[in-house]
Symmetry: C2
Subunit: 179 residues, 2 copies
DNA sequence: AGCCGATAGTCAAAGCTTTGATCAAGGAGG
DNA sequence: CCTCCTTGATCAAAGCTTTGACTATCGGCT
């Protein structure tokens, strides 16, 4: 599939995929090496990407990655009930509640009581929050572009299509999810 | 690119991608919508996948996702120095140290002093740890297969190739990383 | 031999995550 | 009107993460 699996001595985070697939298929009978490689590659690539975006873009600007995600959905779809913000950002309601404490202290988000339902809490960006996320997202997208440049336009289109297909597929639909 | 961006009312975690791309390009000038869609899709798909694997496979068997990752590298490449385990599993040394406390209490991993360097700690699976990870990984791979079935063999090959290209590309190489 | 910068692992503080419990409020049926 | 089930948000406990500090050790250089 790719290069020769390195010996255990000279492995790194990325080349470990080759090593793992080779060794596992040798040791275990019923393993599907292609599915293994797909998931392993997907996970490691995404980890590296998120780590890069968080450490190079968001942390230097004073945002955590989860904080960025919440501001992002409030920016685009806000004001939102706390529950909706959790759905759209892919976090639990409890996580949003805890995170908004931090964002509120930082003056980026405001809590407000909903009118139609006194249990619900409306979340809305402050002016400072709006400024923060627009500037932050500019830098975020520049870094995204740097990553995307490794692929041609056609390759990017193909990749997006395949990811979407996987995302809407059978396993994804029946997956346990909080979303 | 895909379906009509839904109105803010009926969005969910997945369809939010369309909505976000449309709205952001309307509001911000210099954004590359293709790079945006690529990263957003990649991240959301991977989150959903990891959440499914963790909640459907590993938690019911008593492992956390990080715990699984450490056992996995020790299974395939162990025994390993703590530092190597961190590199191969994509965690910080401190995180491995904390995690191994838990795994050691559970009787799955043993700490041992290295002979060649008295600073180094060797991590090794116990017998119970080996049994745990082999059984756990079987179930893990079955679930991976269910996800992979959404794509044809050719599509999977294409997807893996594109992910690898992205992973070894320019931005990835210069990315801030701990790996 | 002795010094000194580099390295391995751990600890500490702060933040985010999870699940499950709790409490307040909504809403349907009697 | 009242009961009962459901739902929204928060809290609590436990675990994992990060960065930065600290200790012990290594190893090259004088």
């Amino acid at each position: 599939m790719t290069a020769n699996p390195a010996s255990a001595e000279e492995l790194d985070f990325l080349s470990f995929v080759d090593f793992a697939v080779a060794k596992t298929t040798r040791e275990l009978g019923a393993v599907d090496p292609e599915a293994m490689r797909l998931v392993l590659t997907l996970h490691r690539l995404t980890s590296a990407l998120v780590y890069d975006l968080e450490s190079a873009v968001h942390r230097p600007r004073g945002l955590s990655w989860p904080g960025f995600r919440v501001l992002f959905v409030l920016w685009l779809a806000g004001p939102l009930e706390s529950k909706r913000a959790a759905q759209l950002s892919g976090m639990s309601r409890a996580a949003v509640s805890a995170l908004v404490n931090t964002l509120e202290k930082g003056g980026l988000v405001e809590r407000r009581q909903a009118e139609h339902d006194r249990r619900a809490v409306l979340l809305e960006l402050t002016e400072a929050g709006h400024d923060t996320i627009t500037q932050d997202y500019q830098a975020h997208n520049e870094r995204e572009q740097a990553w995307a440049e490794s692929l041609s336009h056609e390759e990017r289109t193909t990749l997006i299509g395949l990811l979407q297909k996987l995302m809407t597929g059978a396993a994804a639909s029946e997956a346990k999810r909080r979303f």
